[in-house]
């Protein structure tokens, strides 16, 4: 073997070593990039989700608080996703004799919001609850409440919406069946 041939062989293996090194370095770099980007990307997604939820919460807080008296028509809207509304500043007061999201009838309510349903044994109890809660707005189908809406209720809530039909109710709770 000549000296030139040995030099060429040495140079060839040097090129191969350097080449392999470069390929490995690039591979490691790419792996590191994906490894770093993965958790950061999910962190970014979480951050965006949290921001969105926070904005939604603030939006809800701006909305006036509502007290809804659950009478026959509203209680019969069984396929309606009421749990979505329970996340708002809202209270459902169920009149005597009506069942509404009743766990004994198989409804599962998130315990974090289930306390927003108040069930009454008397109609006088319904109005005592309305007075105690002092929400911004009262939504009620007055014709379905025994004895109608008492005159003094306007002293305890800023706005009384006396709903006349199911269609009107659907404009207040606009979620399709």
């Amino acid at each position: 073997m000549t000296t030139d041939h040995r030099r060429l062989t040495r140079n060839g293996s040097l090129v191969r070593t350097v080449g392999t090194g470069v390929v490995l370095a690039i591979g490691a770099g790419i792996a590191c990039w994906y490894w770093w980007r993965g958790p950061n990307a999910s962190q970014e997604t979480n951050r965006l989700q949290q921001k969105e939820e926070e904005e939604h919460r603030k939006e809800r807080e701006k909305e006036p608080s509502r007290c809804v008296i659950v009478t026959k028509t509203l209680s019969e809207m069984k396929d309606f996703d009421w749990q979505k509304f329970l996340k708002d500043d809202i209270v459902f007061i169920v009149v005597p004799g009506e069942t509404f999201l009743d766990p004994s009838q198989g409804f599962e309510i998130d315990p974090k919001v289930g306390y927003k349903i108040i069930r009454c044994d008397t109609i006088l109890g319904v109005w005592s609850c309305v007075k105690s809660l002092k929400k911004d707005s009262l939504i009620v189908i007055g014709d379905e409440v025994e004895g109608g809406i008492p005159d003094d209720i306007s002293n305890f809530t800023k706005n009384i919406r006396d709903v006349k039909s199911k269609e009107e109710l659907l404009t207040i709770f606009p979620i399709p069946f």
Partner: protein
């Protein structure tokens, strides 16, 4: 007054009670202002909740009654003003006797949570629910206020 309070303070160190979780002066330098943590009685709408009481001892104690209040907007009860925490209880008013002490008062308040009296209300709406015998609404409305104020 000072020796009486000092004795009550010493007694409170060894206090063992099912419902009184803590009963301490706010500062040991001044034994006229106390804070108490009580547990809601079992079988009452207040079970599984804790409540703070503020007790202020007047200079004329024990001849006159201490002033006891819940925290504002924390205690929905027929005999408690929800906004101020003021308590309507006979031993804190006309039926006070110098033989009563701070621990006795707190025990009486715990008892009151389980035995509301709708005839002397400071929360008219809750008292009316008892008057109408609407116990379902009574429990649910208390639960609403407790959960809502906890947020």
């Amino acid at each position: 007054m000072e020796s009486r309070i000092l004795k009550e303070y010493k007694d409170s160190r060894s206090l063992q009670s099912q419902y009184i979780l803590a009963l301490d002066p706010i500062s040991t330098d001044d034994l006229t202002h106390w804070e108490c943590t009580i547990k809601g009685p079992l079988h009452s709408p207040f079970a599984n909740h804790t409540f703070k009481l503020r007790i202020d001892i007047p200079q004329t104690y024990p001849l006159t009654t201490p002033i006891c209040k819940f925290e504002p907007f924390a205690m929905p009860h027929p005999n408690v003003n929800f906004e101020t925490g003021e308590i309507c209880l006979d031993i804190l008013d006309t039926n006070w006797s110098p033989v009563f002490n701070i621990q006795y008062i707190v025990e009486a308040i715990v008892w009151l949570l389980n035995e509301p009296n709708f005839k002397s209300p400071l929360n008219l709406d809750l008292a009316n629910l008892l008057r109408f015998d609407d116990l379902k609404a009574y429990h649910d409305l208390i639960s609403y206020h407790l959960n809502n104020s906890a947020k």
